[in-house]
Each structure stands twice: as structure tokens, then as C-alpha cells.
Amino acid sequence: MHDGPPIVELRDVSKRFAQHHDFADRVAALMTRKALVDAAVLAVNDVSVSIARGEVLGLVGESGCGKSTLGRIVAGIIEPSEGEVLIDGTRQSAMSSEQATRAALDVQMIFQDPMSSLNPRKRVIDIIGEAPRVHGLVSRAELDDYVCMQMERVGLDPTYRQRLPHQFSGGQRQRIGIARALAVRPRFLVCDEAIAALDVSIQAQVLNLFIELRASLDLTYLFISHDLSVVEHVSDRVAIMYLGRIVEIGPTDAFYAAPNHPYAQMLLAEVPRLGGGARDYTPVPGEIPSPMDPPSGCHFHPRCPHVSARCRSEAPVLKPIAEGRMAACHLNDQR
Amino acid sequence: GHAQQLVIGRGSEPQSIDPHFTRAGPNQMTAMHVFDRLILTDENVRPIPGLAVSWEAEDELTWLIRLRAGVRFHDGRPFTADDVVYSLERAPRVPRSPASFAQSLSTLADIEVIDDLTLRLRTTQPSPQFIENIGTIYILSRAASEGAQSSDFNDPSVAVGTGPFRFVSWQPGDRLTLVRNDDYWGEISDFETVVMRFITTDAARVASLRSGSVDIIDLVSPADLPRLRSMSDINVFQVGSLRLVYLALNQREEMIRFTTADGRPLGENPLRDARVRRALSLLIDRRGLTDYILQGAGEPATQIVPAGVFGHAQSIPETRVDRDRAHALLAEAGYPDGFGVTVHGSGNRFVLDSEITQAIGQLLARGGIRVNRVEVRPYAAYTPKAAAGEYPIFLFSYGNTSGESSRGLSGLFHSYDAQRDLGTLNRSRYSNPAFDEVIDAALQTFDDTERERLLWRAAEIAFHEDTALIPLYFESAVWAARTGLEVLPRRDIRTLAMSVRIAR
């Protein structure tokens, strides 16, 4: 791995989607003598994580736990409500506008749905070439060649550059999305469920592309997925998220060998595996709680087999449990 | 059966049942059914005795009036001089009246009740028309309506008069229902009930008649005349009215919206030259308008009142189209090639006004005047600008309500004088001191012969010598009724159930 500051560092980042209360709400609350209920979703709750240059961090969690929100914060699409995002150790606020643009382009995102993430009315050449031209990375004259180059790099036939997205298959579309991101010469890719919508054989192709690009372009990834086997395959480190919090983070091998957090253990147990033979699936107890109204203390306590009184009242913090591994569980304190 | 009820399809609607609320025509023709006046007018707008059986001027400032005996109001109370006093006092004081009767009573000084049926009225100044003005006031019952607001008259117990019909109900926008007053002092109607339906669209009114849902309609559009005349189950009744349609010629100095014949701005107002005005008049084919556009529902006009009306000057000849003379006059005035102008007119104010405006444009254009545009606007947007003098040549009409020409002559042609309230309708700002002198004298003269002579002279100056405006035609008032009904057409365009009879 590389030295130097982490390419991306999140410090105490939270994101709250709150409903804004206006005058009318306040009057209504007065009239009905009800306190104003804060209908906020704390999609990301006090997350600190840093990603070193060249590394792949897998981010796993159930639907609605805040993975995408975290990814968007990293990619600069949304602003965190609290905390800060450092790119190369520098705050956004401390950057000149040029630096800020560069920093914004440095981190790019690949989206889940290859169809809706491509503008259906733009030709491939425009989809890929627009941003480099707008940001002056290439001149108009060089654009065509530049786009061809990007397309070739992701394994697309450059002769297709005048086509519209719908004329491509799912896997090809995802490649267009990747080429679009790569065209602004980023150093960091956030892949938000980037292969979830593809079927197995195409998944393999796109995953291979990611692996290949990582090596050839020295890219760093935040790889978001709920498919544990895919994450296992590509990541160096894995972070497990539950209802807005990171509950465990550590090197892939160590994690898959012995997950520490009860939730992580449960997740791994449920992964269907090829070659595992006939097995009886066991239902996981409990339902995913609503992010609007998360449980007190440790968010996982209602479903946890090891729950204790402390779990209900006190939220555990991420603590180191081994070399490079951290977990947020009160059980670890007892050991 | 059917003979007992008369359904009238009316093109206009009253604003209120209170007869004093406004003196606008639609209101009056409604009021005339329920209320009487001291002096009524016949179908030729000649005064006939109403609730007053006689009136005489004791001197220049005093009038003695005797009232009709034995008249009862609809509620059975007798009619007395007190009701007249009440009505004359109330009429000018109706709150928020848009067009009150105050003007008619402006010269009234005081009223002396001699007995129940005799009154003596005094005026502030000599006023020959005073008695006619008094005659326009509707007589209400003090007992029924004292203290009532205009809107209270929707109640039949307030809207109590002595007229030939009793008021039953009014649904604004829809209909008004009357029943016959069997105790009426005058002629009793053939119809027990009268329903007036308000149908403002011309074509819809005709459709109603043709489909049999109304018995008679008024304001028949000339468009429909040929067809209606040819129908066997419908009769048409027509009479020349006192409404003059004219073309106003703006003579203000500041009115410079003219162009030369080839379209460049002309910095002066050619209409200030009487020869030009005369020339324009010579280009207008009045017979063409009345025969072709109006289908005969109009009579070419030479002056403010038609023949047979007090003040009509026989000496003024009919103007016939004479393009050569017109061109000669124009050349004489310094416009050998004519000039350019925009012709304005109102839409839907009077019969076929927009058609007439267009035809005028055509006639002027064919006569060599460059007609830059013909503009027709809805009356609401038209009249403020016309009053402000913004149109060079524009179509307007004047409906004579009194049976003589003085009011029209002074309103339309007297030099405009806001202080003395003269020449109010003189939108084109025609001004001729000679004319002013004559008309002023006429207004002060009690002697009818002398008065008429002065009015003739005034008409000659305004129409024949100065061509102050271009008189076009007198509209004809047209009614159509299903066969079996006779309509006595009235020159004042009032649609009255009293004028309808079952044919015998």
C-alpha cells in the first residue's frame, strides 16, 4: 500500500434527513398541543473512517442502513450535516476553487442502475466527453480521440460512440458509466451496488473490469454492496453498517474468518454459498427497525441473541479488537 | 290556455326593480309595466296624460298639475298627491345610483300640495322642458316603499305601483314575472301573466322564438330579418326609432393620428376643415348601409331627429354619394390624394355596430381615403377612449329619449364646457359660436313655434353647413312575434307587454 495521508477521510460524519418545520407546523403543533415530532432520519450516524490510497474498502449492510448516503457524501453529491470529509488530508473549506473542483473530480461514483444513471438522451460520446470538456481536461479537437480511448479502456467498441444508452446491454451500460467516471481522471471510485442489477455472467465481467482498472490506474475504491461474497472477493477491508452506524471494520480475511459483531456473524451465516450443498435456511429473528425511530442504545439489540441491559441503554462505540480491526459491541468489553 | 300568458324574450335586463335606481333603458321598460308616471309617452314618444290628467304653466316658473282621480295602487291604497311628492323627493336621492333622475329634477324649487289631486310646482329658472322631465319620474306608493333600499324592491310588497301589471318575481339573469292589474285605470292587457325572459344573445333569442319557447322577441337582429319575414308562423313589426347612429369626426387640434395617402404621418388634423368633413359624408352610402347591412332595419339620417319629431329641419337634404364632389372638396382643402386614418367602432353596443364600422371602412377606402385599420372594441374598452378623444373617426349612437331635438343638439354640438356642463357628448369637440348662440336661445324659449324655428336653424348649422358629424341612419326597432299576436312598435324601443295584443 501507499504511504501518506489517506485519500479520503471521514471525521464524525452524520447525515440527517430532517423534515423542515415551518410556521404552519408550529401553529398546528400549538393547536393540537402536541410537541413537534422530529421526523428526521439519521441516515448516517457519526461515522469516522479513512481509506488509504490504493485500497478497496467494502461496505456491507442491509437495505436502508445508509450505505448509499455514505457513498454520496464521499462522492460530494450531498453535504454531511455534521462532521467533515477530508480529501488528501485537506478540508474542502481550506481549498481554492480550483483545488475544490479537482477534489470533486478526484472522487467519482458508479451507480446501481446502469439505465437510470445514464442520460437516455445523450450519445455515448457526450456522456463520456461532456465533463472533460467542460472542465477543460481536453480540447474540443482531442475530444473524439479521448473518448475513444476511455471506451477502449473499459472494453467498449469505440465505433459505438454515437449510440444512445438504450442501445446497449446492461453490462455495456455499466461500462459506459465507468468510462464516464474515469474520463475526469479520478483517483477514487465509489461503487454503489454497481453490479447488483446485473446478472451473474455480466457481474463477473464488470467486476473483472474493476479489478483490472484498480491495478492499471492505481484507483482506490469504496465498494458498496450487500452481496457478501462479492465484497469478499474484491475488498481489502470490510466495513459493516447497521442503521447508520459502522458496527465493525477490519481486513477482509480476518473478518470472514471470524466476524466479531453479532450482526456480522448473522449476516455471514445467511449467505448462500455455492457448493455448500443442501441446507436448511434458518429465519433471522426480528425485523429491520425503522430508521425513523431507531432502537435505543445499540441499534441491533432487539435482534441480538446476546442482548443485555446495557445494550438497551448505551450505544457501543467502535473500539479496536485486534490489529486493524474495530467493532462496536459491548460484548467485547467483557472479554 | 296559452293566450293567458305572454312570454317575452328580451335582449336586455333591468338592473333593479326600483324604478328610481337608474334611468337606463332596460330598467325603464321594466318599470313602465309596474309603475305609472305623471305623463306617459305614446308609441311615437308624444306625451299623453298619465297619472296627471292636465298640466299648465301658470307663469315661466310655475306649473299646475291635476292628478287622475280614482287610481289605486296594487295594494289597494288610493293614489294621492302625497305619493307624487314622495316620489319626486325620492327619485334624485337613491344611493349609489349610476344614472339617477336628479338631472330631470334639477330645476325643481318646491312643491305645493293644493289638494289630494292638485299640485303646484315651482322651478328655479325658466324651463320649457320641465314638465317633460317631471313626466319621466315613476310614481311610487309612499306607504309601501318609504325607507326601502333599491334591493328591497325585489319584494312585491315593496314594488307597488299603479301600473298595468303587478310585480311578482325577478330572477336576475333569467326571468321576470308579472301579473295583470285588473283594476288598471287604463287599457287592460290581454294577458293574465307576463314572463320576460332575458336572452342576451341575438341568435339565441331568435332560436327561442323559432322553437316556440317565447312568444315575442325584441331587438331582432337585421341578420335574421329576411328569414323571419319569410316565415309564415312569425310576424315582424318594425318602426324607425329615435336612435341616431353617426360617425363622429374628431376635430381636436391635438388629434394628429392621421397619415398621408402613402402612409407617412400627417402632422395635422384634416377633420378640422369642414370641407373635408363634408367630403367624407359624401363618400358614405347610407342607403347601402341600411339596405345591405341592416336589411331595411334603418332609415338614412340627415340630422339628429327623424322626420315627424319636433325640431326636424325639413330644409336639410339627404346626402347622396358623390365621389367626384368629395374629391373636389378634398383637393380644395389641400388633400387631393386624400389621407390615411383608422376607423373605430364598438362591438355589441347597438345593432350590428361592428358590421357597420367595417362597412364604413370599406366605403371610405373605396372613396379614396386610405383606411389604415378598422378597429372594433368591446364597449367597455371602447367608450373610455372615445370620451377621451383618442379616436379620429369613430362610430357612435345617440338615443333621443325626449320627443324633441334640443337635448341632443346641445349635448352633441354645443362647444364643450365642463363648468357649465354643456356639450357633454361633444366627443369630437366641434365648436361653432354661431351654433352655440342659436341653441342657447332655443333652450330658453317657451314659445313652441319660435323654439322649433331655432332648433331648425341649429340643425342646419351643425349638419348642413358644418357637417359637425356624419349622421348615418336611424335604427329601426324590430320585434318578431308568433302569428296571432300584434305588436304596436314603439319608437323609443321599449318592449312593453302593453303593446302586445292578441290579434282578432
Binding site: 454520496r72 453529491i77 470533486a104 473530480l105 467519482q108 461514483m109 451507480f111 446501481q112 442502475d113 446502469p114 439505465m115 437510470s116 444513471s117 445514464l118 442520460n119 437516455p120 438522451r121 445523450k122 461532456e130 465533463a131 467542460v134 444512445l164 442501445q167 446491454s169 446492461g170 451500460r173 458509466g177 464516464r180 467516471a181 446478472d199 | 341575438d202 341568435a203 331568435v206 323559432r210 337582429s221 341578420a223 335574421d224 330579418l225 328569414r227 352610402d285 347601402g288 345591405y292 355589441n348 361592428s354 358590421e355 364600422t357 367595417q358 362597412a359 371602412g361 370599406q362 366605403l363 377606402a365 385599420r373 378598422v374 378597429e375 372594433v376 372594441r377 368591446p378 367597455a380 373610455p384
Partner: protein, 305 residues
């Protein structure tokens, strides 16, 4: 947009043809739409070349003759002129008047629709993109406009600005942009949530560019469709205004004005004065609507086979 499963197996044959070609072919499959398109083209040409093909210039007051008024179709006038479709009260040749009227109607319809759509689209987009109080403000103005009587707007404009084609167009734009603002806002709200917008934000492309280069083009198909129908309804509305005397100058008639003028003569049996322009208007609006309908079907991916 071509036949495909949700998670994208494209039908490769489609790749050979650009989308518009397919849509065009699909459009032409409906005989009715095809015919309507031809009618529109012919009408457009007729309107465009009205001064050339019309036997008479109905605007030129020196060419029309009062004494040739009310002639039934096929009559010969005093000067030997043949009134193929009859003449109106002023002696105007109906055929010529209709050709010029068509020209005016189409001009008013198309132009007012273009402006109304333009303004509505911009405001709708801005409302959807900005959200918050800007959105609320624009939408309240829309509410305001929807409740405002067209006649009043037209009358005020007439009184303040005077008469003319431009003013009628202005009146139509004022009363109609609001519909588009509302429609476009709805569409844009949906588009805004799509991931390609996020992708553009991620590429730091700037709000204006995202709004007008990315979101707007994707709102266009429904807008084009409403637009075509809007032309039709603007023509119809202009006719109504003319009927109320608030439309075009009386000497430069639109079809609507011709009908309105002839309306008074309908009961009198002079049917040609309003029935012929009425039929022409009917054909024009009908064809526009047919084409608009077909466009909607063709441009709607949900209805594609």
C-alpha cells in the same frame, strides 16, 4: 425504450436504427395519423401561401364590395368575380377569408403555444429544481393564473395595449403558461431524482448545465405532446375570444373570428359564413390533435412494443 427486459437485454436489431427513425416508422403506421399529418402540411402550405392562392385579399378594403354581400356559394358578383364558397356580409370572398383566417389562426396558435410552453417549461423546471420557497412561489402564481378569467385578461390587455395579433398572443400566453409550468414541474421532479442527475452533479457540471442540458431534454417528449395539443387549444381559445369580441382585429379575421361573425347569420340561413370556416377549423384542430395523440403514443416508452 426499445423492447427490453427491465434489467436490460437489448434487442440488438434496434441498434441499427436511430430512435427517431423507429419512432417515425411507428408514427406512420397509423393511417389516420399519417393522413392527419398530410392535412396539416397542406393546411400549413395553404396558410403560408394564402396571399398567392387566395382569389382576393380580404384585408384590402378596396377589393371587397358591400354590394356583393351574403352571396351563397358559387355566386357570381357584380364585377364577375366568382364567390366559390360564398361571401360574407361585407362582400368578402369566404374562400380567401378562410385562407387568410387559417394563416392567422395557425400563427396565433403556434406562436402562443411556443411562448406559453417556453415560459411554462422554464418556470416549471426552476420550481422543480430549486424547491423550497421558490417552488412554492411559482406554484402559487400558477394557482393564481388558473383561477383568473381569460376574458378579463384579454379585455385588460385590449384596453391597455390595444388590438392586434401580438396582443392576442400575449393574452393567450398569459393565461396558458401556468398549465405548462405545473405539468413540467411534475415531470422534472421525477427526472431530478434519477441517478443521471446525481452523476452529473458528481461530475461537477453546474446547476444551469444540469437543468438545461440534462433534465430539460428528458422532459421534452411529454412537453412536445402537450405542446401540439396546446396549439389546438390556443386556436380554439382564440376563436372563443373572437366570439366575445376580444380577439383579432375585425378586418384581419382568424377562423374563429369568421365563425363568430357568421354565428349571427346562422339562424338566418346564411350557413356558409360560419359553417365553412367552422369545418376548416375543425379539420385543422382535429388533425393537430390526431398528430399530437399519435406522438404521445410513440414517445411514451410505457406503451411501446
Amino acid at each position: 425504450m426499445a423492447a427490453q427486459g427491465d434489467h436490460g437485454s437489448p434487442v440488438l436489431a434496434d441498434q441499427e436504427q436511430p430512435q427517431w427513425r423507429q419512432q417515425w416508422q411507428q408514427f406512420a403506421e397509423s393511417r389516420r395519423a399519417w393522413l392527419a399529418l398530410w392535412v396539416i402540411v397542406i393546411l400549413l402550405l395553404a396558410a403560408l401561401f394564402a396571399p398567392v392562392i387566395a382569389p382576393q385579399n380580404p384585408y384590402d378594403l378596396t377589393q371587397i364590395d358591400l354590394f356583393d354581400g351574403r352571396l351563397p356559394p358559387g355566386s357570381v358578383g357584380e364585377s364577375g368575380f366568382i364567390y366559390v364558397l360564398g361571401s360574407d356580409v361585407q362582400g368578402r370572398d369566404m374562400l380567401s377569408a378562410m385562407l387568410y383566417g387559417l394563416r392567422n389562426s395557425l400563427f396565433v396558435g403556434v406562436l402562443s403555444a411556443v411562448f406559453a410552453v417556453g415560459i411554462g417549461v422554464c418556470l416549471g423546471l426552476i420550481a422543480a429544481y430549486a424547491g423550497g420557497w421558490i417552488d412554492a412561489l411559482i406554484m402559487r402564481i400558477v394557482d393564481f393564473m388558473l383561477g383568473f378569467p381569460t376574458i378579463l385578461v384579454a379585455l385588460v390587455l385590449l384596453a391597455v395595449l390595444g388590438q392586434g395579433v401580438g396582443k392576442v398572443i400575449l393574452a393567450l400566453v398569459i393565461v396558458q403558461w401556468a398549465y405548462f409550468a405545473r405539468a413540467v414541474r411534475g415531470i422534472a421532479l421525477v427526472e431530478r431524482r434519477k441517478e443521471y442527475v446525481e452523476a452529473a452533479m458528481c461530475l461537477n457540471l453546474g446547476s444551469a448545465r444540469i437543468l438545461f442540458h440534462h433534465i430539460l431534454p428528458n422532459c421534452m417528449p411529454p412537453v412536445i405532446v402537450i405542446g401540439t395539443m396546446q396549439i389546438a387549444s390556443a386556436i380554439s381559445l382564440e376563436a372563443t375570444l373572437s366570439f366575445l369580441g376580444l380577439g383579432l382585429p375585425i378586418t384581419e379575421p382568424s377562423l374563429g373570428l369568421l365563425i363568430a361573425n357568421g354565428f349571427n347569420y346562422l339562424m338566418a340561413g346564411l350557413y356558409w359564413i360560419s359553417v365553412f370556416p367552422g369545418l376548416l377549423l375543425l379539420v385543422a384542430i382535429f388533425s393537430l390533435n390526431v398528430v399530437g395523440d399519435r406522438l404521445r403514443d410513440v414517445l411514451n416508452p410505457r406503451l411501446q412494443r
